[in-house]
Symmetry: C2
Subunit: 215 residues, 2 copies
């Protein structure tokens, strides 16, 4: 930022009176230009035992695989942003579930919010995707994922899914009521907070270096 977006005069970077951190300040009109983190909203679209990934057609990380996600826009909700990005990148409609990963990236001023979602119907590559496809767990291209946020979200998902399957296996050896309960877990997952709880975490520069060479 070099100029004041209100009056067009040059700005300076300094701590405003009564504040405790530097901002871009306009001495001509008095505007303080606050800058704040941005939300990246997206989904983990699930279809039976498979998940949907998009191969990026644009920088950064062109050619690498990602979950559909992007910057939340003004005048929309986080849920609307997640569904819009899923449509734009994969032409996929989803039954949106609960927030699943909340990941802070403080060194690049981003907050990732990925929602569980049940895929409804078909899909195809949107303008920002080269290809969109469904993957079984053993098919996930772990070495060709676009971002550490995506890797982490998928890791949580498969760990939680294994935990659900293990409980189901135990229940299968128990009562009919337990079996019924366990069977419910194999239906749409998007709204099952108990089995797929919110995972909050932070990604640091070293996590991103594995992907970008430098963070």
């Amino acid at each position: 930022m070099n100029f004041c977006s209100q009056c067009g005069e040059k700005v300076r970077f300094a701590v405003p009176e009564g504040d405790d951190r530097s901002r871009y300040l306009c001495d001509a009109c008095g505007t303080i230009h606050y800058q704040n983190p941005r939300i990246v909203a997206g989904t983990l679209p699930i279809s039976g035992s498979k998940v949907l990934l998009c191969k990026r057609a644009i920088a950064p990380r062109k050619g690498y695989w990602t979950l559909p996600a992007g910057y939340m826009e003004n005048a929309e909700t986080t849920q609307q942003a997640a569904m819009r990005e899923t449509w734009e990148e994969a032409f996929a409609e989803v039954d949106l579930g609960e927030l699943y990963t909340l990941i802070d990236l403080p060194h690049i001023n981003q907050v990732y919010m990925i929602f569980l979602a049940d895929l409804l119907g078909g899909f195809s590559a949107g303008p920002e995707s080269l290809e969109v496809a469904l993957f079984e767990e053993h098919e996930i291209p772990w070495d060709a994922l676009a971002f550490p946020t995506i890797e982490r979200t998928l890791q949580h998902y498969y760990a939680d899914r294994k935990s659900v399957a293990d409980r189901k296996s135990v229940a299968d050896r128990k009562s009919v009521a337990d079996r019924k309960n366990a069977a419910d877990h194999t239906a749409g997952v998007a709204r099952q907070r108990a089995d797929y709880p919110l995972h909050s975490s932070t990604i640091m520069p070293e996590d991103r270096e594995r992907y970008f060479g430098s963070a």
Copy 2:
């Protein structure tokens, strides 16, 4: 926005090529000025049966009661933002728990994120507060709360707490093991996802009109 913050020339508001919504565009240097929602992070500080509220010393809603919360800054995490705001507004340290309410306010481009927190030690009014105090449920100044986000967060908290108490009451009439389990619920609440789950919702202009006269 009237001028380009990069080069100082006048901007225009129009849909960029390949985009689907209007942005501030600089024809001189080609910069597209994206604008995105801001996160308001804060806490619901709990001390035994009481919660901490702050009486606002600044506009908007000066003199009304709020939970400690404010805009998340660049280079911090949502948790750090929530703890910083709790310190700045109430000089209160907290043991931060899980995200408790996620509230979208699309018409003012804000996303509220309030975390459950156990209050540690003392507190006093920070520069943006006239007064800070602990309230029992029956003492909450419902008609003098600053924002609908605060009202909603407190409503969720008391509903969840009643639900925990009701289960405890049932358990008291059952086995010793159940009693032990129920007794655990009376300890610090901040990390108990099962009893105090994430509540996601949206606040619309009409909800804010009750507070602001107009949204």
